[in-house]
Symmetry: C2
Subunit: 404 residues, 2 copies
């Protein structure tokens, strides 16, 4: 129980999990532990890894992990056309994404012991009569309790009836699998609990919802997500992982140590205790830990010295702000591979706003690598790994490493 | 246009109907005029006949009337189990009910020219992907505008998501038929208008909703319906029809003349004008008109004199209240074929409440056919057509004809 509960945000309800674990032990029947996978997003990042490592805990205890590939909805897309986040994929794209996903997950747990199911196998044959049965399992009021629905309904923004079908379909996945436990982020809590009610209506024992925390992204603002360009993919190169970790705000260090470093127990406690006094050293150590988790310890040391080497290639004053700039940030990078200079000045703190940055350029106060910038909309070549020395006036400098 | 509009409560929108009629005339293509039929209720009453006669108008103008038998929903029942009004039927029951229905409709229009479609033929093959497309055609807010949904939502009474599917399924019937016009009672207005929006989403020209008024039942309280036991079936015997018409409250006469007498123009106007001065004569004339519509004029005269004969068989005082009692009234009739005397005293106005009626019996003040009643829960045999003389005290009488 303690192992399962560790790092979980919530277990709903705890007593059901205890009961299921106890029964599983006494009967020798493994629990069915469900994890959904959206095949429109095959790239796993280190935030997903929090859940995957929890599945590893279940695997280590002898339970059956089942990945449910949501191929059905990926294949039909969103008929309301409202959601750009749910594109329509072909069967080949879905298969390719599932393979990519499996390769990544394989870095974290034993794939040979994982069952993979495609939800089209039970959703595609459903007919209207069965669907009416499924839609009879819940009420409009219950559905409108979901935060995003409630908000949109209150604000008189349209909610298509088809949107009500998605939580029901996800719940039906749990019915089809007779799931005992489902893992999901806190944004999935409503759906995971709805599945409990639906399973009961189908005469099944309801699953336990294991709610995992969402890791915040490198920007510290939002949950880690490819669509916010604030993520570290688990297949990224050691140098990328290290550089991106170096770019996170200090305020994230505690959370990242707990969820993404792989440390636990005393090692975690002492690492966390040091953050306040030595944030820069703590960040470097975190970067090495993350690289070590996905690429081994040797890679960690290499990535760390690579980071230093890039900086040392350029001479610089002693009182220098060293930082990284992510080229993933759409406010900075153009499609032609150049970076917008005023944006970079704001991102490094040399200017407080785009308009101030432009005014400084017009005043001749800005230089890059000792060349004065004179176009207020100047762009510079922005290859990954490039180091730029930005200067404001005579004394303010920022040395930035461009990362992916 | 005038013919079509006559007796209709609303045509939504009028200009679309004008356009469709005009195009039909110029291209020689008949309009598809849809009328739904709920096979769980095969018995047509004279309220339904208002719509059916409207279909006859379309037939006379050369348009194609299509009866849609709602066999799909009748076969699956209501999975929410909430509605007792939507029982689950077998294929044989549906076929038998459809035959019964056809026989009755055949009394009013030319069945050889009517197309009959079973909605299972397009609903049964629907799969989840198509259903998601259908559910994407409308929004939760729009659905909650329907009066009964709005009321229940406001009162925090549960609405199953499956209930949202029924208006969509009915709308899909219109898509499958490419309906130009759909007829329905005012309680169907929401569904008929939703079909317009759904057809547009499927790239079709939306149908015109022809809203027909609902005839109130013999009790004057609610719409005519078998479930309220306040109806006159179009296959009932002439004597029944006449007797039940004699039992309606005077306040219904105007409405029934307009909707159920078959009269129009000047004949209708002069019949209606006479109601206030001679309600009893007007009611008898209405009874004869209704019998005449469904059984021919000869039958009308027969039913009328049968009514008189039944009363004359029993001697009675001159200042007598003559009335009918419907054995369909569940407050009166028991399953064993007997009628509860206190209830009959209240129904005829001889007592103001059941408790007063019981007290009068205990005081020895009540007699039936000159036999004193002494059991406060007395029952009497209640065969149709029987005439009873109820007496309270020495002077108050009611002579009642028991009808079905």
């Amino acid at each position: 129980m303690d192992l399962i509960r560790r790092n979980a945000l919530e277990v709903v309800p705890e007593e059901d999990l205890a009961k299921k674990l106890e029964r599983s032990r006494s009967t020798g029947t493994p629990l069915i532990v469900k994890q959904g996978f959206d095949p429109t997003r095959p790239d796993l990042h280190i935030g997903h890894a929090v859940s995957i490592r929890k599945l590893l805990d279940f695997q280590d205890l002898g339970h059956q992990v089942v990945f449910v590939v949501g191929d059905y909805t990926a294949r039909i897309g969103d008929p309301s056309g409202r959601s750009e986040t749910r594109p329509r994929l072909t069967g080949e794209e879905i298969a390719a994404n599932a393979t990519t996903y499996a390769e990544q997950v394989g870095k974290l747990l034993d794939l040979a012991k994982v069952r993979v199911e495609y939800n089209s196998s039970w959703l595609a044959p459903l007919q209207l009569a069965e669907l009416l049965e499924l839609t009879a399992t819940t009420t409009v009021a219950r559905m409108l309790e979901r935060d995003d629905f409630a908000k949109r309904y209150d604000e008189h923004r349209p909610i298509s009836i088809s949107e009500f079908m998605y939580p029901l379909m996800q719940s039906y996945d749990s019915v089809a699998l007779k799931a005992d436990v489902e893992l999901g982020g806190s944004d999935q809590k409503f759906n995971l609990l709805m599945a409990r009610a639906v399973q009961e209506r189908y005469g099944q024992e309801p699953q336990v919802a294991l709610i995992m925390p969402l890791l915040r992204g490198t920007d510290g603002d939002a949950k880690m997500s490819k669509s916010y360009d604030n993520y570290i993919g688990i297949t990224e190169a050691p140098e990328q992982m290290f550089g991106k970790t170096m770019s996170i705000p200090d305020a994230l260090l505690d959370e990242w140590y707990r969820m993404a470093s792989g440390l636990s127990g005393d090692a975690l406690a002492s690492a966390v205790a040091r953050i306040a006094a030595e944030p820069y050293a703590a960040k470097r150590a975190l970067g090495e830990l993350i690289v070590g988790l996905y690429h081994g310890e040797g890679a960690a040391a290499g990535a760390s010295s690579h980071f230093d080497r890039l900086f040392k290639e350029h001479a610089a004053p002693d009182d220098l702000e060293e930082t990284t700039l992510s080229l993933g940030d759409i406010r900075l990078k153009y499609a032609d591979g150049t970076m917008w200079v005023p944006g970079a000045l704001v991102a490094t703190g040399l200017a407080s706003s785009n308009s101030e940055a432009m005014r400084l350029i017009e005043q001749g106060a800005i230089a890059i690598d000792d060349d004065k910038v004179d176009d207020r909309n100047a762009r510079v070549a922005a290859a990954e790994g490039r180091v730029l020395l930005l200067r404001r006036g005579k004394r303010q400098y920022a040395r930035v490493l461009l990362i992916g």
